[in-house]
């Protein structure tokens, strides 16, 4: 037990350091940008008509004149106290913007994550256990095509087919236009989130299935599978009893590593469906030089990714008897 705690503690410290690194890297990249936030947000023409005083005020607002070190340390100090600053575009606290957006995105991402996990694992195991057969060829073909397809184009295609041609789904937004938050029903939410979630799932399934197939194929070439065959176990029994058991560990890693991919996909998909999630906010923040918001989103998404890795590591310890029993003996 003590060993596990120590392991978890070490991982947590490493994660905190990595997050610090992420925030610093993101900050440095943003402040290195030669793009002028005033130009992009106010526009050259509008700036020309403004007085020097007004411009100075705007420069102050967008933090143009604050030295980077001071700006970062200020941000870091506030962050540690739980304040992520104020979004310059939305004029709301960053934490509030992220909270709201994350709620919208979480629907999408959780759905896609579960579907790609379950379906991807199933297809991957099926393909890996039947290497070279027709099932394998079909599944592999699907994975190949999808992994070569940009997520945003897939989203455009689904939009054209289901929304424009068939008229089955709305063009965009997570809720009907003009409806206030209280009157939005669960059905509305599902209706609007369906296509984005479908897009993310299609790509997610391909990703997981392809990697699972690889692992499953390796497992099927192991000595213990050969021995199971020699003992008269059917292919079905081998896959269910030995295959699934042994693919579980790599599957955990894959599943939690896919969080990052799904987040990346959601940035693109939300843009196509104008779905007001975290990804869309990230794009807006980037295009509008909204440093506090983009910094906040980067740190939060990195925290989610690292958190996923940590959970995977901890689950490993529970599932893998070598770690579980090895640690117990120490």
């Amino acid at each position: 037990m003590k060993h596990r705690l120590l392991f978890t503690g070490k991982k947590l410290i490493r994660m905190a350091l990595l997050l610090l690194g992420v925030s610093l890297a993101a900050f440095l990249l943003m402040s290195a940008s030669p793009l002028d936030p005033l130009q992009t947000n106010v526009g050259q023409a509008a700036l020309g008509t403004m007085s020097q005083e007004q411009i100075a005020k705007l420069e102050d607002y967008w933090g143009v004149n604050t030295p980077p070190v001071e700006r970062y340390l200020g941000w870091l100090g506030d962050f540690v106290r739980g304040d992520m600053g104020t979004s310059l575009l939305y004029r709301q606290p960053v934490s509030q913007v992220i909270g709201q957006r994350l709620q919208n995105s979480l629907w999408l991402m959780a759905f896609a994550w579960v579907i790609s996990g379950v379906l991807g694992l199933t297809l991957g195991v099926l393909a890996g256990a039947n290497r070279g057969r027709l099932v394998d060829k079909i599944i592999r073909g699907y994975c190949w095509i999808i992994s070569s397809t940009p997520a945003f184009w897939l989203a455009l295609l689904l939009l054209v087919i289901f929304s424009v041609w068939l008229g089955l789904f709305p063009i965009g937004l997570s809720v009907p236009i003009g409806a206030d938050a209280a009157s939005v029903t669960l059905a509305d939410r599902l209706y609007h989130a369906f296509l984005p979630a479908l897009t993310l799932s299609i790509t997610g399934v391909a990703n997981i299935a392809m990697h699972t197939r690889e692992k499953m194929g390796d497992i099927m070439e192991n000595d213990y599978v050969l021995f199971a065959r020699a003992r008269g176990e059917s292919v079905r029994s081998i896959v269910l009893r030995h295959g699934l058991r042994n693919v579980a560990l790599p599957a955990i890693t894959l599943q939690f590593a896919s969080i990052s991919e799904i987040f990346g996909g959601s940035v693109l998909v939300e843009q196509v469906f104008s779905y007001p999630g975290l990804g869309q906010a990230a794009v807006n923040a980037g295009l509008g030089s909204d440093l506090p918001l983009l910094l906040g989103i980067t740190v939060v998404s990195a925290a989610i990714v690292f958190g996923g890795n940590l959970i995977a590591d901890l689950l490993y310890g529970v599932v893998d008897p070598k770690i579980r029993r090895g640690a117990a003996r120490k």
């Binding site: 000595d223 020699a230 008269g232 009893r241 058991r245 008897p321």
Partner: protein, 309 residues
């Protein structure tokens, strides 16, 4: 009495790539024949790389997909077709593999022995076979990585004894064990034979093989060069020069090294594969060499030792 297993002219080859994009058929096992009677331990002895394990996989029909098998295998008087092999493997024909890697690393020993059955009878059987090989009930709860080399070997034998086999194929069951443990493991196979089953012992260790086997088939570069009674060894009635050289290479028989190296698969012509290393090799040894009966054994040599050919 009807033999348990009869293998006649068995050949196994693989499709492989040579240099570049050329595809070649690589023979690894050629023209192999042997017979196992009930209650008999027949050892197949050959140095590593002679293709011994493939014999076991061929009988069980679990060869890799890029292999081709030709020849006849008869089990209990009836041809062992691929379909029949599928039915009898794990029941009437059992394999005892080399080591712990043949156990699922993430499954406890008990369920592995029981092959997924959960009923009370299966539990009793697994308990009983473990006990038979001196392993406590707590072994059932162990994962393979928690077993010592000797324990793993006994667990593997237990998987065989949990069935009621007519034929036990043991594929290199002793490497990594000290002499005493190895003797004990081989003793277990002798017991299975004494119970009426046939045992096919595949090993590189002639000395250990002789300690329990009734008959010995000697393998060289994918071919059986001689089949002899175990007694022929001590009595000096060996027929093939390679067998004799193998016998003389044992420490207690003078430790005489065999010069040269065994040719790999695909490097053997139609003649005797041992000819290039044979002290009595002659040009005609590179031509066809029949496998024939000599003095109650069989040999593939034009000029067998002690024979009258």
């Amino acid at each position: 009495m009807e033999p348990i297993l009869q293998v006649q002219n068995l050949s196994i080859s693989f499709t492989q790539y040579g240099r570049g994009a050329r595809q070649v058929l690589l023979p690894v096992l050629r023209d192999l024949s042997l017979t196992i009677e009930p209650g008999q331990v027949v050892a197949v002895v050959g140095s590593s790389g002679s293709g011994k394990s493939l014999l076991a996989h061929g009988i069980l029909n679990i060869l890799p997909y890029n292999s081709h098998m030709a020849g006849e295998i008869t089990f209990l008087g009836r041809p062992l077709t691929p379909k029949r092999a599928e039915q009898v493997r794990g029941r009437e024909i059992v394999l005892v593999p080399q080591g712990v890697t043949y156990l699922d690393p993430l499954m406890k020993v008990g369920p592995q022995i029981r092959k997924g059955r959960r009923d009370q009878a299966a539990r009793q059987v697994s308990r009983a076979v473990l006990e038979r090989y001196g392993l406590g009930a707590d072994t059932e709860e162990c994962y393979p990585f928690e077993l010592s080399g000797g324990m793993a070997r006994r667990v593997l034998i237990a998987t065989a004894a949990a069935e009621t086999p007519r034929l036990v194929i043991a594929d290199e069951p002793t490497p990594g064990l000290d002499a005493r443990a190895a003797k004990r493991v081989l003793g277990h196979f002798r017991e299975l034979a004494d119970g009426g089953a046939g045992v096919l012992l595949i090993t590189h260790d002639l000395e250990l093989a002789l300690s329990i086997a009734h008959r010995v088939a000697v393998f060289y570069a994918g071919e059986t060069v001689e089949e002899a009674d175990a007694a022929d060894f001590t009595a000096g009635r060996l027929r093939h020069p390679y067998t004799k050289a193998l016998w003389n290479a044992l420490p207690q028989n003078g430790f005489v090294p065999i010069l040269g190296a065994q040719p790999g698969p695909g490097e053997v012509g139609e003649g005797c594969p041992f000819a290039p290393r044979c002290p009595k090799g002659r040009p005609e040894c590179l031509g066809p060499v029949p496998y024939r009966e000599v003095d109650g054994g069989r040999v593939r040599c034009l000029y067998p030792e002690g024979g009258t050919a």
